[in-house]
């Protein structure tokens, strides 16, 4: 046995084995990507920036049930509600503080009408001290902008939920 180990070290067999791996990857195609010019694909469940969605007829989905506000572990959401003129239940204020948010996605899970969603937007910045709080108009605007992607992602993921 001892003699066997001795021979193995003498022939540098292990070193060569290691070098073969190195050598193989030296000639293989590189998979480092050049962010931001290049981007990796994202999961349909990616949890990025929030958005409020609308129905096809343009009506906002949110019905001010405040479940997302209640479930949010970071207390990032604050909502005021009232009866709109047509008698429906609507928010008058819907704000998310992105500094507080931990992107857990609970709000999306709790929403009975699929109104609040987390989009796959993960690159964003604020240009002011108080810009970390998104208001209802901004959230709806993000929703309008990304509705197609959001809908496709939800559809793709539907059977696994």
């Amino acid at each position: 046995m001892k003699i066997f180990r001795y021979l193995k070290s003498l022939t540098l067999a292990e070193l060569l084995k290691g070098m073969t791996v190195t050598g193989k990857y030296f000639f293989k195609r590189k998979f480092t990507i050049r962010y931001p010019e290049e981007k990796t694909p994202k999961s349909d469940r990616f949890r990025g920036l929030h958005a409020l969605r609308r129905y096809d007829n343009g009506e906002e989905r949110c019905i001010a049930c405040k479940l997302c506000e209640a479930v949010c572990p970071a207390l990032a959401i604050s909502i005021d509600s009232e009866m709109r003129e047509d008698g429906s239940r609507r928010t008058t204020k819907y704000e998310i503080d992105l500094f507080k948010c931990i992107y857990c996605g609970f709000c999306e899970e709790s929403c009975p009408v699929d109104s609040i969603v987390l989009t796959d937007i993960h690159e964003f910045h604020f240009e002011g001290k108080d810009k970390n709080v998104l208001d209802k108009q901004q959230l709806l605007a993000i929703g309008d902008m990304r509705e197609k992607d959001v809908a496709t992602a939800r559809k793709n993921d539907a059977e696994y939920r």
């Binding site: 479940l67 509600s81 009232e82 429906s88 009408v113």
Partner: protein, 785 residues
């Protein structure tokens, strides 16, 4: 098996039985229901239709329990206890029954919890968590009900109704108004008014709390908040002297709704609509939230230091003897205490809170109160003297109804208007403001004859002068009957009557003759507290207004609070200086005041009230004070320091409360040895009525209340006989002339022919501006519109 010691047979009293629920032994009253026994012993049984204050309907079937030796599960709310009965609430059979009932209940229930205001505090939601299935097996069509608009207080979503009939039973048994009923059969049953009417009961709001689901919800509160966001703070009614206990529900420091707090000796489990919605007046447009001063006739907001400086200068402008303090009847004891302490120390004697009262001859002490509220039902004969009781103290009306319903009490009434009551009346004497008082005198005359007593003094002479009659003699006979307990209730119509002293004396005399008790209502939520804290002056408010007073401090009061609103306005306009400390300032007050110091309502400050029974009830601040507003006691304390008065070193409200608690409370008495001031009718007699939602600044500003049918109108109500005589038709414009001391007050109103008003009388609401202290009016008929 539990380790409770076995109860031996001998240890069980006569009227009790021994039962076991879930292996727990207990002794409960014979005839009580299983659910009551379980509730008392902390065992929870799910239920929807059962309510401790209502009759048993047993129609929801949620409370199924398993009883030993009974082949089927039984409803716990309708199963009386039996000796040695063994009940299992958690056995497989019980749970299965409950789960099945739950599945049936959910068949027709919509899945709209996210938009339902009851969500988060819903009994159905809670119990479906415990007993419901995860998925529905039901595929057929669901029932949908059309909603009715039942008024400004209650929102309906009848599709959510589970037909437990709690609301129906409440409106039948408690308020006696029968405004809701079930229509249709089986699962098509719908609860509704059937005729598309609104629900007008003055206690209607309680059906919101009773409804286990979101079918009936609070309309002004609609969609404003979720149950889990609300903080609850204990409070005391700000509108009547019963002192109903309640909880204010606040979100971010703002009161959004009010619910009752159980107090068996006062409001039981209910509150009146006035107590539920009155506080919403807090957000009225004329709320003052910053100190204001008037500069060249223009109002300017300023800081507290400037405003206080000016207030002090204004108050010092005149000698304290020529200063008057006039307060409303809704402030806390602590504020009254400081107010009277401060101004008495300054040497001012013109302090009062009874702004709506005309006759002050019997007003030097507390209202006479010979019993507690829960003893009202012990009286076989109840006589209401000048009282629209349901609109004055709704909870007392409820007690009287229960007395009539359960104990067969006979209720007789003397009133200037044919009001509708929710109990049967034994004798209902309706006459003009002068006639009914004379009627009361006639009753006294009959009693005197029956008891063969000699009448003495001015009161005796007056009673003697009243004619006896057969009807009243019957009532007199019932009252002097030794076997019946008699209760006389002196209402607010009497309190504000120009002959209040006489009315009270007659009642006191009657009670002495019939061994009766007297329940004298206080007018205003904390009128009793104001009196105890020394706010009652020797003079009357009219004297104060007629005096040389040149400086005024108006404290949480306004023009509409005065019995002579017009006179008060003129006097304040002529005054050198008027300091207004109040939460609201309407145009009239803004016209006369020089400086306004905004102070908090009783719901926004800590303090206490005395109720009609002289019980002191404390409370903390429920809502945040808006903007610059300060608690009244703090402002008064600083004011005292600025006026260099000693003894104002209080740092906390508790120090003041403990001093208030030490004040002597003398039992209220009524003097029968009085001077009688007879009243004579010249033409028509005015009945100037303070309506249910016009009693104080706050109720007057509560929009939901003002949108109900009970809100006052600018009508002049007149009997059809008089109308015919004068050629008056509905909606005609009428000019009313009221002559008092050479002065004439004229108001133009719209006629409304109403036979509830007795012939020879006209009836208006107080806020139209006529005086309450003079009864004679004449009418000029104008054009019809």
């Amino acid at each position: 098996m539990t380790e409770t010691t076995k109860i031996t047979k001998d240890a069980i009293p006569e009227n009790m039985v021994r039962i076991e629920i879930d292996d727990k032994e207990m002794i409960v009253p014979r005839g009580s229901m299983v659910i009551e026994a379980a509730d008392k012993n902390g065992i929870s049984i799910p239920r929807f239709c059962y309510h401790k204050k209502l009759s048993i309907a047993a129609n929801c079937r949620m409370c199924m329990v398993d009883v030993e030796k009974v082949p089927k599960p039984l409803p716990a709310c309708a199963t009386p206890v039996m000796p040695d009965m063994k009940v299992f609430t958690k056995s497989k059979r019980a749970i299965d029954a409950q789960r099945n009932v739950m599945e049936f209940l959910l068949i027709n229930h919509p899945l709209d919890c996210p938009i339902c205001d009851q969500g988060g505090e819903c009994e159905l939601q809670d119990q479906s968590m415990g007993y419901g299935r995860g998925v529905s097996r039901y595929v057929d069509s669901k029932r949908v009900a059309v909603d009715e608009n039942i008024g400004s207080l209650i929102a309906t979503d009848m599709t959510r109704c589970i037909t437990c009939t709690r609301c129906v039973r409440f409106l039948d048994e408690i308020t006696g108004t029968d405004e809701l009923g079930g229509i249709g059969r089986g699962d098509r049953t719908q609860i509704g008014t059937a005729v598309g009417r609104s629900i007008d009961s003055i206690m209607s709001g309680n059906i919101i709390d009773l409804c286990p689901v979101g079918a009936l919800t609070n309309k002004p509160f609609r969609f404003k908040a979720r149950a889990w966001e609300l903080m609850s703070a204990q409070g005391v009614s700000m509108h009547d002297a019963i002192g109903s206990n309640l909880y204010y529900h606040t979100r971010q420091g703002k009161i959004l709704r009010t619910v009752p707090k159980d107090n068996e000796s006062l409001n039981e489990a209910w509150i009146s609509d006035r107590d539920r919605y009155g506080v919403l007046g807090q957000d009225a447009e004329d709320r003052v939230t910053a100190p204001m001063v008037k500069e060249n006739g223009e109002w300017k907001e300023t800081d507290w230091a400037t405003a206080m400086d000016l207030a002090v200068r204004k108050l010092q402008a005149n000698d304290a003897k020529n200063t008057a303090v006039l307060a409303g009847n809704q402030s806390t004891n602590e504020e009254y205490f400081l107010l009277s302490k401060l101004f008495k120390a300054l040497g001012c004697a013109n302090i009062d809170y009874r702004l709506g009262q005309s006759d002050f001859t019997q007003a030097s002490g507390l209202p006479r109160m010979d019993l507690n509220l829960d003893e009202v039902g012990n009286n076989q004969q109840i006589v209401l003297v000048g009282s629209h009781v349901g609109h004055e103290q709704p909870i007392l009306a409820h007690r009287i109804r229960q007395a009539w319903l359960k104990n067969g009490s006979k209720v007789s009434i003397f009133n200037p208007k044919q009001y509708h009551f929710n109990f049967e009346t034994f004798h209902h004497y309706v006459g003009t403001q002068i006639e009914w008082v004379n009627g009361l005198g006639s009753l006294a005359h009959c009693v005197a004859d029956l008891n063969k007593v000699k009448l003495e003094g001015e009161l005796g002479e007056w009673i003697n002068a009243q004619a006896t009659d057969e009807n009243l003699n019957n009532l007199a006979k019932a009252l002097v009957n030794k076997d019946s307990n008699v209760l006389f209730v002196i209402g607010q119509i009497s309190n504000n009557h120009p002959q209040a002293g006489l009315i009270k004396a007659v009642v006191a005399w009657l009670s002495s003759q019939t061994d009766g008790k007297v329940y004298e209502m206080a007018t205003g939520a904390n009128a009793v507290g104001a009196q105890i804290c020394g706010m009652g002056s020797q003079n009357s408010v009219a004297d104060i207004l007629a005096s040389d007073s040149k400086s005024f401090l108006i404290y949480q009061a306004e023009n509409d609070d005065f019995n002579n609103a017009y006179g008060a306005q003129i006097k304040l306009e002529d005054a050198d200086s008027v300091v207004l400390m109040a939460s609201f300032a309407d145009d009239n007050m803004k016209q006369v005041a020089d400086v306004i110091l905004p102070i908090g309502l009783a719901s926004e400050v800590a303090g206490s009230y005395f109720n009609n029974f002289a019980q002191m009830q404390g409370f903390g601040p429920a809502a945040k004070l808006p903007a610059e507003t300060k608690p009244g006691w703090r402002v008064l304390r600083v004011l005292a320091n600025m006026l260099n008065v000693d003894g104002f070193t209080y740092d906390s409200i508790d120090e003041i409360s403990s001093e208030v608690a030490l004040l002597t409370v003398n039992k209220g008495e009524i003097d029968t040895n009085i001077k009688v001031k007879a009243q004579k009718a010249d033409d028509l007699v005015l009945f100037n009525e303070t309506t249910i939602y016009d009693v104080d600044m706050l109720a007057r500003r509560s929009q939901p209340l003002q949108d109900t049918v009970h809100a006052s109108t600018d009508n002049l109500n007149i009997n059809s006989v008089d109308a015919k005589k004068l050629g008056i038709e509905n909606a005609m414009q009428i000019i009313v002339n009221q002559k008092v001391d050479g002065d004439t007050i004229t108001q133009s109103l719209f006629a409304n022919i109403d036979d509830k008003v007795p012939a020879g009388s006209v009836n208006v609401h107080k806020c139209v501006g006529l005086r309450t202290d003079a009864l004679n009016v004449t009418l000029i008929v104008g054009d019809s519109v």
